[in-house]
Symmetry: C2
Subunit: 200 residues, 2 copies
Amino acid sequence: MTEKRIISIGRQFGSGGHSVGIKVAEELGIPFYDRQLINKIAEQSGYDEKFIQSMEDSGGAVKHRLSYFLMGRDNNGKTIDDYVWDAQKKVILDLSEKGPCVIVGRCSDYILREREDVLSVFIHADFDRRCERAEKRYGKTDTPIDRRVKDMDARRQARYEYCTGRKWGRAENYDICLNSGRLGIDVCVSTVLSLVKESR
Amino acid sequence: MTEKRIISIGRQFGSGGHSVGIKVAEELGIPFYDRQLINKIAEQSGYDEKFIQSMEDSGGAVKHRLSYFLMGRDNNGKTIDDYVWDAQKKVILDLSEKGPCVIVGRCSDYILREREDVLSVFIHADFDRRCERAEKRYGKTDTPIDRRVKDMDARRQARYEYCTGRKWGRAENYDICLNSGRLGIDVCVSTVLSLVKESR
């Protein structure tokens, strides 16, 4: 296989995909991009950073695929989301050109799908494990954790499917999918690192 | 994680999952069950071996989920397929009790889902790669290879979804999913072996 220079990590909310990404980047000594992508997408699109963030993880983001079709379109037939998507693609393609790195989420598996030097990873875990992990990480709020995890799942799925035309969570979208709940975060990290090293 | 004694391998037709399974079993020095399961299921269910085989991979098998609901039922409300499914579950559970082994397909991921000592693997690959591999392995026939691969996909999906109630090909059904087209068979084998060894 071609040497894997870029690691794209898709993840279910609460699965620990972010932690896997950080550790892989640290071990390989390469840059890590997760929420940092938001600043870059904001800069590229001209929209406010807070707005981009709200599209991702707050009540401002649309939850259902249908909502995307009901959004307003400008004279070019494009929605705000289309412009954000264009910026997102450009940011991720530019980063992957710049050099080795780890990119978390933002449909990077799809955006980089043609590149042979990308290792495309998906981290998932059982629902209960994800709730437990998410509550530990993000704390308690008035909304019960299972509701928050389900909402985030729905939003990520809707945006992924709208932007990529692919079904979210299907094994065939990725080179490797790992269940962090059953295998543990450290084993996910070592498995990804082995693949990267084996490709060299 | 718990020591992984049983390796269950689900696979897309033409992905090389069978080869991955054989090599893993050889390396670990443990029994390998793929088509051998057919004899055992035939014996357990009392149906003819050829009939069981035809349900799996010939024109005799049903291709669409709907067909299952149209099948005849006996006084217990069970179809022939239900009886085969009962036998299949018993055979696979018994084998997993007997000792370490590699089991390919037959919904073994689902049947063994409660067991912590099972490593549940799914091998997949791009459609074109699978066609190429399947033609090399099974030879040419009057039916074009892309048609044969699509038919087999449809049959496996229908049977999996009818028996398990799960969506076929979803990452979350497995501990690890590997794209053999992008990673190569040998890397799939070494990745599975590493996980087994890491669990000890």
